[in-house]
């Protein structure tokens, strides 16, 4: 009988351990959309598709929580996420690796963003419009990208974290027929993560 008394706290503890367990919380994306996570166990699959719904693994249907509760419990780990990757676009003058005046004005802000970014990794991708032959455009797009890379290096971004790509007239922002000048396609995209 004394044995049984001993057992009760242990039993309670092990039950607690079994229930306390794994929780999965689905959150809304930054833009307000809600994704989906399928929680798959031996017992079956629970689908999470509502913002702030919580699946307790092995614990039946998901429970609906709310932003306040999730924020108070998980605020620290959410605030600790790395900064979101960024995509910046700069435009160029016709047939040249000179930035347009509008894009030139954006450069100081871009450099500040990169300098403040923790351990930045950068891909600089150059593009052209469809004027000129493709070999010329491949070269021009690479020159545009290199021009931006040099700017980033002179601002103190380490050379070895910058990757440069020239895509010529491929993947136009605005599709055109060959030979059509299109300012929006004369660009460099900076991907920062």
């Amino acid at each position: 009988m004394a044995n049984l008394k001993h057992c009760v706290p242990w039993l309670a503890l092990s039950l607690l351990a079994a229930c306390a367990n794994e929780k999965i919380v689905l959150l809304p994306d930054k833009d307000g959309k809600v994704g989906r996570v399928d929680v798959i166990t031996k017992g079956g699959t629970t689908e999470l598709s509502k913002a702030y719904s919580v699946a307790s693994v092995g614990g039946g249907a998901p429970r609906q929580s709310n932003q306040e509760e999730i924020q108070s419990r998980y605020g620290a780990v959410l605030d600790g996420l790395p900064p979101r990757p960024q995509r910046i676009e700069l435009n160029f003058e016709f047939g040249s690796d000179r930035l347009t005046p509008q894009s030139k004005a954006l450069v100081p802000g871009v450099l500040k963003l990169l300098k403040d970014f923790p351990a930045p990794e950068v891909v600089v991708i150059g593009y052209t419009d469809a004027v000129g032959d493709s070999a010329f455009n491949d070269k021009l797009s690479l020159e545009r990208a290199q021009r931006i890379r040099d700017l980033l290096i002179s601002a103190g971004i380490p050379k070895d974290v910058i990757q440069v790509v020239g895509r010529g007239e491929r993947e136009p922002q605005v599709p055109t027929r060959p030979g059509v000048p299109e300012p929006r396609n004369r660009r460099v995209v900076i991907k920062l993560r």
């Binding site: 306390a20 996570v37 399928d38 693994v57 998980y74 620290a76 780990v77 959410l78 600790g80």
Partner: protein
């Protein structure tokens, strides 16, 4: 003899090629941390700092009052709370096609995720595993809390 030299050169270039391919195949980078954060690689533990690269099969371990923020090459974001252990089980990503495969295990603790380009490319391409469940990630933001 020339044959032999040729095949040696070929072998050497293949070895060099695969070595450089391997060097490029990092999975992610430490973007922020505080406290004590270790990586276990090939059975050895060493401290991590901001800017360090992480590779497939690395286990990241945060101590008490510690935290780590990791960005994978496909833009997946991970935040590891205190007393947390994560393993990058698989990571493959082709930046041109944006296809690949990502498997992360949460072994202990609490982690928040924002899935990236791999999960976007295919609903079966990213998985997160826990001691008792497998999560199929259709997107995008979620928390895994192991309650320990």
């Amino acid at each position: 003899m020339i044959r032999f030299l040729q095949s040696c050169a070929l072998l050497l270039s293949i070895t060099l090629l695969s070595a450089s391919a391997l060097a490029a195949e990092w999975a992610g980078t430490v973007k922020a941390m505080n406290g004590t954060v270790q990586v276990e690689r090939n059975g050895q533990q060493s401290p991590l700092s901001v800017g360090d690269k992480l590779y497939p099969l690395d286990k990241v371990i945060t101590a008490r009052d510690s935290h780590v923020a990791i960005t994978l090459r496909d833009d997946t974001l991970i935040s590891g709370s205190a007393n947390t252990q994560l393993v990058i089980n698989e990571f493959a990503f082709n930046p041109s096609t944006q296809n690949g495969g990502v498997v992360i295990s949460v072994v202990k603790g609490i982690a928040a995720f924002v899935s990236g380009l791999v999960a976007k490319s295919s609903p079966t391409a990213m998985r997160v595993t826990t001691p008792t469940a497998t999560l199929g990630i259709r997107g995008t933001e979620f928390i895994v809390d192991l309650g320990n």
